[in-house]
Symmetry: C2
Subunit: 432 residues, 2 copies
Amino acid sequence: MDKIKLPERATWQDLLKRPTLTYEDLEASARQIFKEVERTGDKAVQKYTQLFDGTRVEATAVSASEIRESAKLVSEELKKAIQTAKANIEKFHTAQKSPQRVVETSPGVRCWMEKRPIQKVGLYIPGGSAPLFSTLLMLAVPASIAGCKEIVVCTPPNAQGKIHPAILFAANLCGVTQIHKVGGMQAIAALTFGTASIPAVYKIFGPGNQFVTVAKQLATQYGVAIDMPAGPSELLVFADELANPRFVASDLLSQAEHGPDSQVILVTTSESLLDQVAVEIDIQLATLPRKSIAEKAMAHSKMILIDGIETALDMINEYGPEHLIIISEDEPFFIDGVQNAGSIFLGNYTPESAGDYASGTNHTLPTNGYTRQYSGVNLDSFQKSITFQRISKEGLMKLGPTIEVMAMNEGLEAHKNAVSYRLEALNNKTKV
Amino acid sequence: MDKIKLPERATWQDLLKRPTLTYEDLEASARQIFKEVERTGDKAVQKYTQLFDGTRVEATAVSASEIRESAKLVSEELKKAIQTAKANIEKFHTAQKSPQRVVETSPGVRCWMEKRPIQKVGLYIPGGSAPLFSTLLMLAVPASIAGCKEIVVCTPPNAQGKIHPAILFAANLCGVTQIHKVGGMQAIAALTFGTASIPAVYKIFGPGNQFVTVAKQLATQYGVAIDMPAGPSELLVFADELANPRFVASDLLSQAEHGPDSQVILVTTSESLLDQVAVEIDIQLATLPRKSIAEKAMAHSKMILIDGIETALDMINEYGPEHLIIISEDEPFFIDGVQNAGSIFLGNYTPESAGDYASGTNHTLPTNGYTRQYSGVNLDSFQKSITFQRISKEGLMKLGPTIEVMAMNEGLEAHKNAVSYRLEALNNKTKV
């Protein structure tokens, strides 16, 4: 992990550069797979599952008996943990329901906004080295609170054509309506076009490797929405003398073990903390099962000493981290000032892994600088707003002339007429 | 306007088909313009303005004196109308501020969400046949309420290299920070990459023709967000015996005058209303200045008689109109049941043009079926959410084991360690 002391502002851009993503080479594969899935549906899905996952899946849909069986394979301890996490996620996301307020903008002009669930959503749960039942909770719980009618999960099968029982257990717990054994680009294509067995959805959620990310971007060209563009996971820790170096090191490593392309940055005003964290990292890294992954991530990560909290805040906002840990005597200064971050963890006893699993906040967050303009997944991600308005006769008598003047000045006479005919009727007391 | 009586459900898809959009032919042009603007900045902007708008613009930025001059060119009547509309839009969008709620998900685990403005936004205001100062209000007012630091407007110059004074007046009134005389694909490219005079932004808003739409989609490949994909404007009216046919005809025509590709649909349970509306349309159409445009739109529009309100609701939700007018004795049934619509206008005295200009709701709405998964522009469009969490020692003692179990079951030991080291310290009462 590089140590950088008091870097010049001019060097920040380079210093905070993220690993480059190269999507363009993958776009051709994605287009090919989309074309085939659109044309031959399940047949193409089966072909690509065989090719990429090395297993033949006769029917993608997980059956009720598979779900029942899976429940027996999950330890009671894990079941309880999943239920606790689910309860917290549920509490936090339920609190995001918006109160409905009718606003009388002018006398007799009543406007309001109502949220309605997106009827059909697809949740992509990556496979690979870890069975991410936590991601399933993070997506299915808010989808269910929002009231989405069809909640379709796609997740790649293992070499035996199976899905990890903890994922099935969590999916069943959260009211998922269908689970399909399909991953990769072919899963995203299936959710985009629909096949005989997998329904088309209106919005696709969930993380994934670069193949899935490219496929999700392509899906938007076919009228499907996605939660957000995705990149490798990242963490920035700001810590001062208040911080426990052992804790800080463990947080940095928890991020680093995600993948070799994970990004980990420590920003500190304390040179001694910086040195202690470096020592702790070496100690803790030595015994990690995913040591080789974490080492690769640490190789391109940075420990940066800066001259004060104002500089630290500027650096945080320039980088815009997905995860931000603040362990500082100046915590309120950072809470006020941070503009760009996905989720923020405050104090010595709030490790990032709490948010990854069980504090209740969502772990599906913008990366790669997208915190500048995207929110993490939340209840609103599964809803859309509809505005309503109702104008009384008196209301239109009063506001109508304003509309007429504006419409005429935009050269839209039929827009004006829609008001004028009504005003005419009202002024003539025509019975309508 | 086609009259269709009691159509079979199997024919709905065809019946409700929207005019096809062909983007692919435009993508190559967009890529070319993006490449040039990225490379040569203002020079490329100037070149394409000359080519497409037929005018040479030496400096795109509108000066303070131009803004002052423009105020003199706007009638007092229009100024007052713009101010009234602004006040209503402001009231409705200010009411969308979310209350901040701290949720204690588990004892000692406090989570909350805060909204922060997107720092830099670009607003595209189309030129063409109408000076759309109303669109400027719809975008700049919520941007300003959200607290966006840089609000950059781009709008094409006319043949004299000028911008309509009403647009400048409205922009100045709403706290826009910069206005540039540039339109089309080159404007979107400039907002994406930035030039010497036009700043790069994080999110681009606003309607536009198919060129602008394709350019906005391309911008998303360069890390910029957009409000929503756009298509031609559309209106569906459901009306029964309660409706005044003259009013209904005027609403249909106000939509039709937008453009030849506008989509207009009347759904009714009353055959006599259908016939009366058809007669009224012919009468009203005859005197419209934009008659030839409206006629083209009406040519592919539909009047559909159906057998009852349940069928009507299904048809509305299948089509998912941008604008929906409900004039019906069964209004509450529709308010409850509509899932897919952008903005809804209720009763005989709520013309769509009220929402286009001055009721207070936003007129930037999803079209082309995107109401299934997108909201119209609202205050949240200019903000993103950041989640926060703070866990007390006691909180982590209680929740920690849940996190440990989940992390181990996902095979992520460093995630577990981040909790374990802390629990160890707490259990040993180590001073930290």
